[in-house]
Symmetry: D2
Subunit: 426 residues, 4 copies
C-alpha cells in the first residue's frame, strides 16, 4: 500500500475525545481502500477471507448493532436487510449470509455501502457528542474491532489479487543473475531468568480484549530469545537444506499439510532462474534477504525452529520479554507493505513490535478466571479457543494503537495469508 | 430482462451484409447487460457459470484470436495478456486462467473490457469492409458463438443473483391464499408414422455447427409427441404425488442426485404458505400454472415422464416432427424472461421453438461421418461428446437467428440452470 | 485363476434340465473362489467393487427372494436379517446395508454364508424337482445374474489384491533387458455394407435380458471393423507417442480424468527398467505385446482410436458384424486369466467373443419399445440407462453360456477394473 | 469383553523379571482378541482405526525392529516384507503401507501373523534370558506400546462392529417403558489451594514416556474438581435442554462439527421409544443413568461444562489432585466393558483412575525442556504435539500397569471412539 499516507494522529489518540478517535479510525479504513476499485472490493478468494466491501459494511454493522440500535433513541437503521448480510458470526444476533458466499454480494453496491458508512458515522458522532460513559467501552471495542479488520482488508485483498496474473506487475527490472544474498551476521540470543511472572492485563489503563484478562501468574523457566526475527536469507538456507522435504523436522499434521498443499516455500514466493520473488498487494518484488520471512504457517515456523535446534517461544516468554520495551516498530502507519530488516543495537531485542506477527508455541486458551462479556459480544473471542495458536507483536499491517504487550492474535496452524513470521527461542 | 428492448432486425439478418450482422449481434450483447452493474458482472456463483464480464471479453477474444490475428494485417492485440485470461477451453491456443477462478478477475476492469470490445469491433469492421469470402465462415461461427454466450450471460447471472437475498424483490403483492391453479385441459398427442428419415444438415443453406453434420438417415419407429411442453401445474401434481420421494420413477444416478442435492422442486422454486414462487433474473414471481415448467434436470424430466407413463422423445423424433414447422416462438427478442403458456390450435404442435429447451433421451454423440474442423475450432463441439444429453428447440433466452431445426444443445443430466423443460413422447 | 478347472458342461447346457443348469452354475461360482481365503473374501477396495463373500450371499439372496419366498410353500428363510444385508439395489424390496460398507460385514462369517448357499440350494432343487414352467424364466434370470457376479468376483478381488504389495508375486524371473516387443503385423479392416439392419432380440430362442429387447431396425451406414482387438504393443506406441499427455486426442471429461487420476498407462501396468508388467489376480507378469490391451477406460479407448485416425464401433455395427459368427472364444471356461493374442485366418474377424469386452461408442439406452418386467426385477437394467456405455462380446472372465450376440454390458466411461478393451472402426 | 478373564498378575508386575512381564503383556493381548474371528480382525472402519490383525502384527514389528534386529545377533526376520506392512508412522524406519488401506491386508493371513508373534516371542525370550540392562528401557517401551494398542484393539473393533447391524444383539429384553432414570444426587466439588506445584516426572521410579518429562513447576490457581465423572443421567438433561441445538454453549469449531456430523447424542447412542441404548463391543444395552457418560468428543465435553456453568480441568489441576490418590479403579483387568457408576465416600474424589478418560482443557504440548529420544523413537510422541488435547486417568479398556499419575493420552477434539468422558471443574 505504498501510496497510502496515514495519519500520525494515532500516537496520541488514547487521550483524545472518543469522537475524534472514531473519526480517525474510520477514515483510516477508507484511506486503506483508496487504491482499490469497486470490482476489487468484491473479491473473495477463499472462505477464510472476505471482500473488502464486506469488511467496510461489517465494521459499520458492528456500530449500528451494538451502539446505535440500543443506545441512540430514534435511530433508523440504514437498511434492515443489512443485519442479515453483514453479521459475521454472532449467533446471538441472528441468522446471516453464508460466509463462503460473501463474494456474491454484488448488491448492495459499493456506493451504497459507503452511504451506509456515512449514515452510521453521522449517527455515531451524534451519539458521541454527549458524554455517556456507559457506552465508551463498547465504542472502544468497535474501534479496535475495526482496526482488526483493517489488517484483514490488507491480507485478504493481497491474497485475492495474487490469484490474478493480470494484477501482478513487477516493481523493477529483473536481475535474474542476482541471488537473494544476505548481509547480516549470525544473530545473538538474549537471556531471561524466568520465574513466577505476571502476564495478561486487568485493563486498568486502557482497553484490552476479554481474552487478555485477567492478569495472572505463570511460572516461566529460564529462557532466551533471538534478538530479531528469522530472515529470508535464513529461510533460503532451510529450503536449500531440503527443509520442506525432510519429515524429521515436522509435526505430523504439518508434514501431511506440506504433502497435500505441495508447499516448497512461503506463500507468495516463486522462483525465476536463480532469484526468488515475493509480492505486496500491488507489486512483485525480489525477496529481500535481510528482511524477516513472512507468510508462513505455524507448521513451517515450528519445523524451521527444529531444524535450527531451537524452538518457538511461548506467549508468556514473549510477553515477559516484551513488557519492558517501548511499543515501537514498523506498523501500518509507516506505509511500508512488507516487513523490513532489523535496525537497532546489536544484542538487544529488535522487531518485537510491528513488522510481522510472531507464532508462539502457545495454543489460544482462556486465562484462568477468563469471563466473556454478557450478551452477543461474549462470542467475540471465547468461542475460538480451540485449535488455534497465539501470535504476538503485530505487523506492518497493524494499526499501532491497536497493539499492546498483552495483545493475543490467533490463527490456525495451516494459515499463511497473514503477515506471520517467527523468532527463535531456546 | 423485461426492460431490454432488443432489435427486431435479426429476423431478416441472414441476407444482410456480414458487417451489419456483426454490429447487430455485438450490440445485442451489450443491450443484454445494460441492467447490470460492474459488480454484478464480476459474479461467478459456480464453476459451471462465468462472470458476465468474462463472457463479454471471451466472445471478443474469439474474434481477435480466430479472425483478426490471422487475417487482418497489422492488427495490434489490445493486450497480450488477454489471450491467457479469456481463453475458455482451447488447449490448442495455449494455457488459460483457471475456470473456477474467473470470478477473481477484478482486473482488467469492466471499462477496460468494454474498450477491448470497441477496439476489436473497429478492427473487425475494417476487416469486414472488403469482401473476403474465405473468412465469412469463421465470422459466422464467431457470431453464433456470441449468441450462445448471450444465453449463458442470462442464465449465469440469474443463478448468481439468486444466491443473494438482497437481489430478490417480489414483483407484486403476495396473494398467499392463491394456489397455483391451472386452467388448461389435458393435452393431446400428435402421431408420426416414422420410418427411414433424414436428420442433420449439410449446411448448404446457411450456417450450422459441425455437430449437426452431415445429414444422414436414421430409422425412427412410429411415435407421438405431446402438443405442448409440460406445465407447472402438471409439475405440481408430480410434487404432490411424492414424485421426488419415490425411487421407482428415477434413474439410479438421478435418485442419488436427488438425495445429495435435496431436490424437492425445480431450481429457483420455493414455497410460502400454499403458494409457490420462482424468479427471473431480477424478480420473484408466483409460479404460473399454465406456463411450461423450467430449470429442471434431465433426471427430473425423465422421472416425470416415467411417472406419467410416457418417455422423453429422441432428438431424431423431435427433429423429424419439427422439420415442417415454421421457426417461430418465444425467443430472446420477445423480451420475456420466462417461458409462456402455449398458444395455438388445439391438437397441433406448439412451443417446439423458443420458450424452453426440451431434454431429449439422446446423448450428445457424433453423427456418422462427423468431422471436426481443422485447427483450434476442432475443439468447439467434438470433445464434449460424452456424458451429455441433447436439448432441442431453443428458449426465451435464445436469439432467434441462432436457432435451426438441426440445432443441438447439450448439457449434463444434473444441470438445471438453463431454461430446460420437457415434452412428453410415447 | 489358472488353477481353476471349470466344467465343460456349459456348452450343451441350454438343453439340460433347469436343475442341472442350476447345479452347474452354482458350483462354478464355488470353484472360482476356491483359491481365496475367508479374509480375502471380505475385501472391498472401492465402492464400485464388493467383497467375494457378499457376492456369494447376494446371488443366493436373489434365489431366496425372487424364487423361494414367493414360490416354495413352507420355505423358511435362512436368516431374516440377510434380506437387509444382501439386497444390492432393489428399492422395491426394501432398505439395505450401505454399499460402501459391504467390506465391514465380517459377520455373518464365510462359513455361515456357505451354509446359506447350501440351504438355498437344497430348497431350490426341491422347487425345481417338479416342472413349473411359470418359474423357469425367473430361475434363468437368477442363473444369468449369478454368472454376471462370477465375472465381478474375479474383477473385484483382482482389484483388491492389487492394492496389497504382499499379494503380488512375480510369475517368473525378470528379464529387465526384454522390451515388450510385438511380433504381429498391421491388422486388416473388414468392410460391411450396412443398411437397414435388425438388432436386439425377442428372446424367442432362449434367455435375454429386458435391455436386449425388442428386436428392432436401425440404419447403419457402411463401416469397417479391425480384424482383431488393439494389442499391448500398439498401446505402448500410444504411450511412447505421449498419448496420455496430448489433450487433442481426448474427450474433455476424459482429459480431466487423466489429470485427476494421473493415468499414464492401463490399470495394473507398471514399469521396471525398460519392461512393463501387468497382473492377474494372483501374479505379476510381463505385458504380452501380442495380447489385447485390457483394463482401459472408455476415455482411453476413445483417445487411442482418435490417435489412430479411427473411431470406436457403435454397438449396432458390432452386433451386425458378429451376428453371423460362431459364438466361440477365450471365455472363463478356458481357465486363462488374461486375454490372449488373436488366432485365426488373416483378414477375418477374430476375438469378437471372449478375451476382453469391447467398448462401443453407444451409450446404454432403452431400445424402442423397451419394457421392463413388472415388480422388483424392473430395476434390473432400466434404471442404469444413463451415463454408461455399452460393451460387447464378453471376456476371459465371462461364462460362455452367459454370452449372446445381443448381450449388452455397460459401465461408466472412467471405469477400468473390468476386462475392457477396444476394436478400431472406420 | 465380558467373557475375557484377564490375569491379575499385572498388579505386582513392575518388580517381576522383564521376561515374565513380556509374557504377561503379550498373552493379555491374545486374550483380548479371543472372541474375534479372523474376519473380524481384518475390519478397518475408518482411517483413525486399524484392524485387530494389524495391531497384533504392528506391536510385534515394534519388538522385531527396535529390539531383535539391533540386539539379538543372528536374528532372522520372520518376513522382510513385514517391515513395510506393519510400520505405523516411523518415517525414519522407512516407507510403509498406506494407513487407510490397512483393512485390505487379507494377506498375510491371521494364522501367519500369529506365527509371527510366536517367532518374535521366542526370540525375545531368548534375548531376555540374559541380563542386558541397556535394552531394558526399549523392552519396557515396547510393552507399554503394546498396552496402548490393547486399548486401541478394543475401541477400533467396537467401532467396526457397530457399523454392522448383524453384530448387535440386545443384551436383554427391552423395557421400552423404562426411561433412563438416575438415582444419584447432585455431586460435590472438592477444593484445592493451588500454588506453585510440580507436575510431570523424571521417571526415576519406573517407566514414563518422553512427553511426561521432565518434572517441572507450574503455577496453578485455586480450583475445585467434581467428585465424580459426569453421568449419563446428567447428559440426558443436556440433551433434553437442547444442548446439541444451542450454539451459545459451543466452541466455534465444535458447533461446525455438530452440524456436519449431525451429532445429537454420544457416539453409539440411539433411541427406541423413550429409552436410550448404547453398546459394548458385543452387545446393545440400555444406557445406565448412573454410569459416566462415554464416547464423547472434546467439543461435547466443553459444551456440557459451559452449559453447567463450569469448565474442564487443566491437565495440571488433574495431576495435582490425583497425585495423592491410590492408583485404583475400573481398568481392563476388571473385565467390564463400560464405565461403571461411582463408588466411594461422599465428597471424596472418585473415578480419577479407570472407567473413562477425562478430557482436559490442556492441548498436548511439550513440557519445558522436553527432549525426544534419539533415533526412530523420537517420533513416538513429539510429532503429535499440535491440535490434540490431553486426556487423563485411563479407562475400563486400559491395562492398569500402563497407568501413572503423569500419563498423558491425547486425541483430536472431534474424536469420540475412545472411552472418553469428563469431570467438571470450577
Amino acid at each position: 500500500m505504498p501510496s497510502v499516507a496515514l495519519s500520525n494522529e494515532s500516537e496520541s489518540q488514547a487521550s483524545e475525545p472518543l469522537s475524534q478517535q472514531y473519526r480517525q479510525v474510520r477514515s483510516q479504513t477508507m484511506a486503506l481502500v483508496a487504491p482499490l476499485t469497486a470490482e476489487d472490493m468484491l473479491l473473495q478468494s477463499m472462505p477464510d477471507a472476505s471482500p473488502t466491501k464486506w469488511h467496510l459494511a461489517h465494521t459499520t454493522w458492528f456500530f449500528e448493532t451494538f451502539l446505535l440500535q440500543p443506545h441512540l433513541s430514534g435511530y433508523q437503521p440504514f437498511d434492515k436487510a443489512y443485519q442479515y448480510l453483514f453479521n459475521s458470526y454472532y449467533d446471538t444476533v441472528g441468522e446471516r449470509h453464508p460466509r463462503p458466499q460473501r463474494g456474491l454480494l454484488s448488491r448492495p453496491a459499493l456506493t451504497e455501502v459507503i452511504a451506509y458508512r456515512e449514515h452510521v458515522d453521522a449517527a455515531m458522532l451524534q451519539l458521541l457528542s454527549e458524554p455517556a460513559p456507559d457506552i465508551a467501552a463498547a465504542v472502544t471495542i468497535g474501534l479496535h474491532h475495526e482496526m482488526q479488520h483493517q489488517e484483514l482488508i490488507q491480507t485478504d485483498i493481497k491474497h485475492a489479487l495474487s490469484l490474478n496474473s493480470y494484477a501482478q506487475p513487477k516493481a523493477s527490472p529483473d536481475r535474474p543473475d542476482a541471488a537473494n544474498t544476505a548481509t547480516h551476521d549470525e544473530p545473538e540470543f538474549v537471556c531471561f531468568a524466568g520465574g513466577l511472572v505476571e502476564v495478561g492485563t486487568n485493563a486498568e489503563n486502557g482497553f484490552a480484549y476479554d481474552c487478555e484478562q485477567p492478569r495472572h501468574k505463570v511460572f516461566v523457566p529460564e529462557f532466551s530469545l533471538c534478538e530479531r526475527l528469522v530472515t529470508n536469507a535464513e529461510w533460503l538456507e532451510f529450503i536449500e537444506d531440503d527443509g520442506y522435504k525432510r519429515p524429521e523436522f515436522w509435526l505430523s499434521d504439518g508434514w501431511a499439510t506440506v504433502q497435500e498443499e505441495h508447499w516448497r516455500a512461503p506463500l507468495y514466493w516463486h522462483r525465476e532462474g536463480r532469484q526468488w520473488f515475493t509480492r505486496t498487494q500491488s507489486q512483485r518484488l525480489p525477496v529481500d534477504p535481510n528482511a524477516p520471512v513472512c507468510h508462513i504457517s505455524y507448521y513451517e515456523a515450528d519445523a524451521f525452529a527444529r531444524w535450527r535446534g531451537c524452538r518457538l517461544p511461548t506467549e508468556f516468554e514473549w510477553e515477559h520479554a516484551a513488557s519492558k520495551l517501548p511499543l515501537e516498530g514498523n506498523f501500518l502507519e509507516s506505509g511500508v507493505a512488507l516487513p523490513q530488516s532489523a535496525q537497532g543495537a546489536e544484542g538487544s531485542l529488535k522487531q518485537m513490535f510491528g513488522d510481522a506477527w510472531e507464532w508462539t508455541q502457545s495454543p489460544f486458551l482462556p486465562y484462568p478466571g477468563f469471563t466473556p462479556p454478557e450478551g452477543a459480544l461474549s462470542e467475540y473471542n471465547g468461542k475460538f479457543m480451540a485449535n488455534q495458536w497465539v501470535l504476538r507483536g503485530g505487523s506492518c499491517a497493524t494499526a499501532k494503537q491497536q497493539m499492546r504487550v498483552s495483545y493475543r492474535n490467533f490463527f490456525y496452524a495451516h494459515q499463511r495469508w497473514q503477515f506471520s513470521s517467527l523468532r527463535l527461542a531456546k
